[in-house]
């Protein structure tokens, strides 16, 4: 299963980005192959609709779960219809490698 994690930077030491639609990077982590990829978020400066556009991006990568600090109100119905699970983690200090570690167990 592929999981998207919002990240403030493009290293495993970066923190979990608390915003979904306007996060700096998405980490796409594959729990089966343990492979991960950092994707810069092109929607960070979008005038509007950053959330749905970001769903578009991660959904096109077959992600089934998203971990972030907060999701906007336009995003939820789209994720529900796509059967993508939202995981809210209110911990700005959490590093990407910690979250990946948590997903392994």
């Amino acid at each position: 299963m592929k999981v998207a994690i919002t990240s403030t930077g493009n290293t495993l030491e970066s923190n979990l980005d608390q915003r979904f639609g306007r996060c700096a990077y998405f980490v796409v982590y594959d729990t089966d192959t343990k492979a991960f990829e950092f994707i810069p978020n092109p929607n960070i400066d979008a005038e509007q609709g950053a959330g749905p556009a970001s769903v578009n991006l991660v959904a096109s990568r077959d992600v089934q779960k998203i971990i972030s600090g907060e999701f906007g109100m336009k995003v939820k119905p789209i994720l529900d219809s796509l059967k993508i699970q939202m995981v809210v983690l209110k911990d700005p200090e959490k590093q990407i490698k910690d979250i990946i570690e948590m997903l392994k167990h």
């Binding site: 929607n43 979008a46 005038e47 509007q48 609709g49 950053a50 749905p52 556009a53 769903v55 578009n56 959904a59 096109s60 336009k74 789209i78 796509l82």
Partner: protein, 294 residues
């Protein structure tokens, strides 16, 4: 006396007294026999009609076109998604999913132009209502009222100002802030009255309004409401920037009390009435009969 002029009453900060000034100016102009229209552009919560009685003359339902996509005709080419500047089309070609996020749509119609498969038609969605009230033979109020849940009042404000036309004196009660609704309101004004209060918040938001009006090359002056409250920083700022101080409305419980009961303060306050009249004469002499810039 005649004159065609559009005066916008605005402020950065909310609750400084825009509606107090707008409704009292409207009252004064009525008393002086002018042909006057008050446009309540504060479409999120219009309240000018709390202060006046009027008869509904006309209502306009303001609509916007929203695309309807027939997924069975869609080829998932992605052209509409690419044309949309507002991220309003959600598309996953691999899963053959396409949908319109109506809240994000600005009704520009670009997606319909983009579609070569004939999959996009349009429907009307109501954004709000513009109502014209006849208050007296020479005066009317036009109210812009947006629907709950609509994201931007801009198109409703635009329609309300269109409805007001160009005849006589037009007073526009602007929404607070310095974003699009404010800009839409003041864009057609010949003169802008900024209402503020002598507090740090009042000053901070006044500066933002002034900076916005400067980039729009508008003429403006300032009314300080609740004068006597707070500090003197706002006066130094006005002096430093050479911004005319049009009027001070004292911090006075009788004014607040009358206003809170939906009364026109000038009716029972001859001193303030005189100050309003002096300010109005000066504005009309200097800016009246000028053709608005847009």
């Amino acid at each position: 006396m005649t004159g065609n002029i559009k005066i916008a009453i605005a402020s950065g900060k909310g609750g400084t007294g825009k509606t107090l000034v707008s409704t009292n100016l409207f009252y004064l102009l009525q008393q002086q026999g002018y042909v006057v229209t008050l446009v309540d552009c504060d479409a999120e919560e219009p309240n000018a009609m709390v202060f006046f009685d009027g008869k509904v003359e006309k209502t306009n339902d303001i609509k916007q076109k929203i695309p309807v996509i027939d997924a069975s005709k869609c080829t998932f080419c992605g052209k509409c998604h690419e044309y949309c500047n507002y991220n309003a089309i959600f598309l996953l070609p691999e899963s053959e999913i396409i949908s319109v996020i109506e809240d994000l749509c600005h009704g520009c119609g670009a997606c319909s132009v983009a579609c070569n498969a004939g999959a996009i038609s349009e429907k009307d969605v109501s954004l709000g209502i513009v109502t014209s009230f006849r208050v007296s033979e020479k005066s009317k109020i036009i109210e812009a009222r947006m629907k709950v849940g609509v994201y931007s009042p801009v198109s409703i404000i635009k329609e309300a100002n269109k409805e007001a036309g160009n005849h006589g004196i037009i007073i526009m009660d602007s929404p607070p802030g310095t974003s699009c609704p404010f800009i839409q309101t003041v864009s057609t004004a010949d003169y802008v009255i900024l209402v503020t209060e002598p507090t740090p918040f009042g000053l901070s938001d006044l500066k933002q309004s002034v900076n916005t009006l400067k980039t729009m090359s508008k003429s403006y002056g300032v009314i300080i409401n609740r004068a006597g409250l707070g500090d003197k920083a706002i006066y130094s700022y006005l002096q430093q920037e050479s911004i005319p101080l049009l009027l001070e409305i004292p911090f006075d419980k009788t004014i607040a009390s009358a206003y809170s009961r939906g009364k026109i303060v000038l009716e029972h306050n001859p001193q303030l009435l005189q100050s309003f009249a002096t300010m109005l004469t000066a504005i009309l002499e200097k800016y009246g009969n000028r053709h608005n810039q847009r």
